[in-house]
Symmetry: C2
Subunit: 434 residues, 2 copies
């Protein structure tokens, strides 16, 4: 039996997927016995040279007619990204009884509930391995490899662009804007980098991981999201001095009947493995009650790594069709649990790094520590260096565990003091639990 | 539909598996819809306290009658280890139409061909996730997650005992025997540590990974295997000085129609992620043509991590049974390819570290380098330190790429020179390709 695939979207990932399906068709058949053929690739632009030669009858501009409406196609692969018309294509494909594979984390995170429901109702498979951490098979690992575990927590670097920027800021003591410009020149960041640098892309992916791991509904709107655009080279240097690296971390932790889900720049002890994950690479820690800590590392983006994930979903579907599984009876954990609450950010506890821009005169530290003390925030370490009598100097504090709402109140109060100048930098600190 | 499981072997992993199947039965059902019940646990000793309370009707001393011969049991889990009677139990279980899950790498690596054939002929599934790298779902990752890829190479630390010993030798400047004794006291090494320290356990696991990745027959007999028992604290220190760590590495590389498969102590650049994998932890790099470099990290042994892998296999089988897949049509790559040759060790090329015990007198370096030169081995770095006129001093050389057979000939010749004392230490060097 031959399984036929149609791709909608002939961009970077579409090209990688088409390349793998054609160039590795033989090896996939040899490994699995499955014969998978790329029947159609739809895009508005089928003229541009993508560096891959496909027979011209494969290319089409009519996604609806030639892919979704094509009775020979078993699996529709949506790789155009964005909300519309991607959503319409996916829903129509499901309604036509096609299995669907997508890399569209933005769509699934924000409007996925409806799409997953539709797939469940129609008894088709919706594969989304490629939507999180590119080529790393993290969805399969959590759903199947670690299925025996109660997932306790997830910590991930799942946005290559922001990790590249932070890496360059550290390596070259660059400031944020120079590192961003370099990332854009290299094609690692888009012209409008908002989704990547403000943590939105990371939050989309974390939405999927948290739902898969804890069985909660897709909770994008409940995720605290903070990006890296306010991080300075100075913060990175202070972090180093204190034994930490700064990474944009996706965090999901189960605590009793609650989960913390948050995305923010995070200081991680530099001897942790995840601190060594540099450049555009991704890594995800998954902690399970039986397996303990595990880590998965690889390329989180790019035509071929992401294509590898897309094709793994296609092969899974092809296998299930070929060996006659009743896929409509395959139950997915995702989104069924409603008894678990996403903890409001104000209730989260963390250790903190504060960088105050202090006016260099007597009594500054006492004023600041006084405010912190009144909000139940206790100090673990202080760095004050350089002198600029009457001018501004950085004053860095590390705290013990404190409550986010207390921290927000304290910082708001401190930022109005006459001994500080400008907004205080706040970075949460993970690891080395006290 | 309820899926019933019988375990044979109530040791460490058997206990972990029983614990997960009972304590996490609800969460597994919630995630997957699958109801999996532990029906029987067989062991010769059912009196000893394992710290887990199972209803007494579950325990039996009659593996053949109450587990394999039990018509209610769908999945037989073999966790006694060793060749016999494990093999007999597995073969009988397969012949009785049971699906089988095992963690028995020694058996599969050496007599697996017959067992895999039997399973194929009877149309049952043989799960062996737990046999490599404990809780890390490396088998699933290679077989399914990276199925779209031609696997190019694998590099792994897959024996926790030897990694623990090497880590302690580095951290505490301990010698090998002290570190081994400590590992034994902590329960990380067995009374007879041969399998772990001589690389045999690593070679068993690599046999399975290589066969799965490259589709070649199980090739345990063709794997070059060298353990860590000759490594000294001094070698570890010289390695550090040269920017390397020493790890017992399992290596499998595809080169044209050949594969290199080998296990030996290996110097790896210390800035590589795998160099940071310390203690009893395991990590496996898998490099695919589409996905590039990926890494998987976690606990490679222990009751609960290994139990996590065993149960993931059980759940996979339970799913396939429950949704009515024709599992006998599910084709496995493993062992089908006969056109790929395992490259003889003599033909392998590598960079090398040599530590000579040189007699401290003029002309030593010239004599040694003369022999190396005549065997086409060129020197990349030299360390000679300390003086002991007329006595023995260590002389360390790093080479450029050389051929193993040339190296063996050169070292044999050098070891007979009057300017060297004792056997030369040879460690292969990976990474930083020239």
């Amino acid at each position: 039996m031959k399984i036929n695939v149609g791709i909608i979207g002939f961009g970077t990932v579409g090209t990688g997927t088409a390349r793998i399906l054609t160039e590795n068709r033989d090896i996939i058949k040899e490994k699995t016995g499955l014969d998978i053929e790329l029947l159609k690739v739809a895009d508005l632009d089928i003229e541009r040279d993508r560096g891959i030669s496909l027979p011209s009858h494969i290319l089409t501009t009519d996604a609806m007619g030639d892919v979704i409406g094509n009775p020979d196609i078993h699996v529709v692969v949506e790789l155009i990204g964005g909300i519309n018309p991607a959503k319409d294509f996916i829903v129509k494909a499901i309604q036509s009884g096609k299995h669907v594979v997508t890399a569209n984390k933005a769509l699934l995170a924000t409007e996925g509930a409806e799409i997953f429901d539709e797939a469940r109702n129609r008894g088709v498979i919706l594969g989304y391995e490629a939507s999180v951490a590119g080529g790393i098979p993290i969805i399969k690992v959590i759903r199947e490899g670690l299925v025996a575990n109660r997932i306790l927590s997830i910590y991930g670097i799942i946005n290559g662009t922001s990790n590249y920027i932070l890496t360059r800021m550290l390596e070259e003591k660059m400031d944020f804007h120079d590192a961003l410009r370099e990332a854009q020149e290299l094609g690692y960041a888009e012209a409008d980098p908002t989704f990547d640098i403000e943590g939105i892309d990371t939050a989309h992916k974390l939405t999927l991981l948290a739902s898969l791991s804890f069985g909660i509904p897709l909770s994008y709107d409940h995720i605290y999201t903070e990006g890296i655009s306010r991080i300075t080279a100075q913060d990175i240097e202070f972090a180093m001095e204190l034994g930490y690296k700064i990474k944009l971390l996706a965090i999901a932790k189960a605590v009793d009947r609650e989960v913390e889900i948050r995305v923010h720049p995070t200081m991680i002890p530099e001897n942790y493995l995840i601190s060594k994950v540099d450049g555009v690479l991704n890594a995800v820690y998954v902690v399970g009650d039986a397996v303990g800590e595990t880590l998965y590392y690889g390329r989180g983006a790019g035509d071929m790594p992401t294509g590898s994930a897309v094709v793994s979903d296609i092969v899974d579907i092809a296998r299930k069709i070929t060996i006659g599984c009743n896929v409509s009876e395959d139950i997915q954990f995702m989104g069924k649990r409603t008894d678990i609450r996403v903890k409001p950010m104000g209730e989260v506890e963390s250790k903190y790094y504060f960088r105050f821009t202090a006016i260099d005169r007597p009594g500054v530290l006492s004023k600041i520590s006084g405010v912190l003390g009144r909000h139940q925030i206790s100090i673990a370490a202080v760095i004050q260096k350089g002198r600029s009598i009457g001018g501004a100097v950085p004053l860095v504090l590390l705290t013990h565990k404190a409550r986010e709402s207390d921290v927000q109140k304290a910082i708001k109060e401190i930022d109005t003091l006459d001994v500080v100048d400008g907004r205080t930098m706040v970075i949460r600190v993970e690891g080395d639990e006290d």
